[in-house]
């Protein structure tokens, strides 16, 4: 029975007592690996010596499927990658194909896209906050977060009939006009939401245990973050003020004012603060956008059958998790020759080893939580 102590690992004498390194398999079924991530840990006591992520349990071959579907047919598939931020996925894909076609969505469509995408960002961050807090042992925030997320999902449902995998946008614009109370719904949500974020912060931000669990844990320096290709809130928490919405605006982001929150230390606590502030900024964008939705068509004239001229394009957006990029190659037929997705979760997850070395198992849980991965996107 004691084989368990040494299985798999080469037993190395590390202490006088003769305690060996332990190999611990976390996942693929584990409460805090957020799906089917499997992390192979090499432990000395409870200290992490190294980690190895074993992924692919949710691999569905999305990129292969793309090559056998028409451009429009593939659009719903992208929703299934980062399934907690389906709207953002859809936006990235639609804009990429529009670029491949040389078309552009009309202004009204772009503003509505912006609003929905920002709501989705809030929803995604709320889900992250709830599960992250749950990982660290705070049982209550998750329910508050889901309460607010529910409001957003209701707006999605009213708009396009779906809550999770929405397929809200079409290549060239939107399929549906906004429903009648769209503006009031979004406005009401935004008005309520400001107080709610404060509520979460009251529970956590200055809580001694929370600070103790997150501050100085999983530090990622700016240089490391860039070298590892880490993007999104994690990069910003590491101190680099970079946001694709500002750097290379898409949709209608160039029209709105918002700040890019950054952190100082690149630890778990900073990542938490950055995401909290991002929710506030997203709310700000929504409020600005809802004030003035331009009238006009919602669909560009792209035709029923899409045949982009041969060539290739890379386009990326600031998804809730980081830079979500699509690299599409057309050979002039109705089906893409190749669609490559640059999944932010996949690349951010690569930084896990860097952050986790020397931490405790309990810290690892916090670090995985703060990486904000969705396995559907990691594995595609």
């Amino acid at each position: 029975m004691t084989d368990a102590l040494t299985n798999g690992g080469s037993p190395i004498e590390t202490t006088v007592l003769g305690a060996d390194e332990i190999i611990l398999n976390m996942g693929p079924q584990h409460p805090s690996t957020h799906g089917v991530l499997r992390v192979k840990l090499k432990l000395d006591g409870e200290r992490v010596l190294s980690t190895e992520c074993i992924i692919g349990y949710l691999h569905r071959g999305v990129e292969k499927i793309a090559e056998h579907r028409s451009y429009q047919q593939f659009a719903p598939y992208v929703d299934r990658m980062d399934y907690v931020a389906a709207v953002s996925n859809g936006l990235g894909y639609c804009e990429t194909v529009e670029k491949l076609l040389g078309a552009e969505a009309p202004p009204r469509a772009r503003v509505v896209r912006t609003i929905l995408t920002e709501l989705q960002r809030i929803a995604s961050h709320l889900l992250w906050l709830g599960t992250h807090a749950l990982d660290i042992g705070a049982l209550t925030p998750v329910f508050y977060c889901f309460r607010e997320r529910e409001e957003i999902l209701k707006i999605f449902e009213k708009y396009c009939g779906a809550r999770l995998t929405t397929h809200a946008f079409r290549i060239g614009g939107l399929q549906y006009e906004t429903y009648d109370e769209f503006e009031t719904d979004v406005k009401r949500f935004c008005d309520d939401f400001s107080g709610k974020v404060d509520e979460y912060e009251t529970l956590l931000t200055e809580n001694r245990i929370w600070v103790g669990r997150t501050k100085g844990v999983g530090i990622l320096s700016t240089a490391d973050a860039i070298a590892l290709g880490v993007t999104g809130p994690m990069l910003r928490a590491s101190g680099l003020k970079w946001d694709l919405r500002k750097a290379q605006p898409y949709a209608a982001y160039d029209q709105y004012e918002f700040d890019i929150p950054t952190g100082k230390n690149g630890d778990t606590y900073d990542r938490y603060l950055v995401r909290m502030e991002e929710m506030r900024q997203s709310r700000r964008i929504c409020l600005q956008a809802i004030e003035n939705i331009p009238s006009g068509p919602i669909m560009a004239k792209v035709g029923k059958v899409l045949k982009p001229p041969p060539g290739e394009v890379y386009h990326s957006i600031e998804a809730p998790k980081g830079e979500l990029g699509y690299y599409a190659v057309s050979d002039g037929t109705t089906q893409p020759y190749r669609v490559r997705v640059r999944p932010p979760s996949f690349i951010n997850l690569q930084a896990l080893d860097k952050m986790a070395r020397g931490a405790l198992v309990a810290d690892l849980v916090a670090i995985i939580g703060t990486t904000d991965i969705v396995l559907g996107e990691v594995d595609r």
Binding site: I226, L228, D254
Partner: protein, 226 residues
């Protein structure tokens, strides 16, 4: 704190130098914001443009010859095979053998400090069937650049992990999906597919219904995964 990259390192190519289709900003509206990303900028940015005319000239790749390409050519000569601009995005085709040196130069001298993505495209009818594609991004310049190298079926490509650690998993994925071997990769093994899987699914000659039936039978105890 390095909150604003363009304050740290003065851009070597000013963003305005886009005249002849500069490398790369994503779209014209984006160029305006290539300046320091500050909240004030979007207010000054161009108002939303009217929808573009429905029928433009269809976009197509055109040859590119700007300062950046010239610097690359001056430095590497023949290793820079071709430079094109496709949908306002710069693509440089380089010799696979020189990929690592060119990458290092791109990172250190041209400040393309982040490897955004590394992937491949399979063109089975071509003599060297694979395109290995590196998507680079420069924080100081707010520009993107795409390096492309051709590789044959059993021809190793130099790994760029030592230049951008981010390439580690990306190269593994490429190997997994296309079977491209990256020379010098610290731990080149499959990442998404099971380790013992036969075949590389994203190759064009790997049918979408195909699978490693032997593996499926042995490991999942079912006849077929379909």
């Amino acid at each position: 704190m390095a909150n604003d990259p363009s304050e740290k390192i003065p851009p070597s190519t000013p963003p305005e130098g886009k005249a002849e289709g500069a490398p790369v900003s994503q779209k014209p509206a984006g160029e305006a914001a290539a300046a320091p990303p500050k909240p004030a900028v979007p207010a000054a940015a161009a108002p939303p443009k009217p929808a573009p005319p429905a029928k433009e000239a269809p976009p197509k790749p055109v040859p590119l010859d700007n300062e950046l390409v010239q610097r690359f050519k001056a430095r590497f000569g023949d290793a820079i095979r071709e430079a094109t601009l496709d949908r306002k995005q710069a693509i440089i085709l380089v010799a696979a053998a020189q990929l690592r040196e060119i990458s290092r130069y791109s990172r250190d001298d041209e400040k393309f400090d982040m490897l955004v993505d590394l992937t491949a495209v399979d063109w089975p009818k071509r003599e060297k069937r694979f395109d290995v594609i590196l998507n680079l991004y420069s924080f100081p310049k707010n520009e993107r650049l795409r390096l492309k190298a051709h590789a044959g079926e059993n021809e190793p490509v130099p790994s760029v992990v030592e230049i951008w650690p981010a390439a580690n998993w990306l190269e593994r994925e490429c190997y997994d999906m296309f079977g491209i071997v990256f020379e010098g990769h610290p731990d080149l093994k499959r990442i998404l597919m099971p380790d013992e899987w036969e075949g590389h699914p994203l190759r064009k000659d790997y049918d979408i219904l195909k699978q490693d039936t032997a593996w499926v039978r042995e490991n999942l105890q079912i006849e077929t995964g379909q």
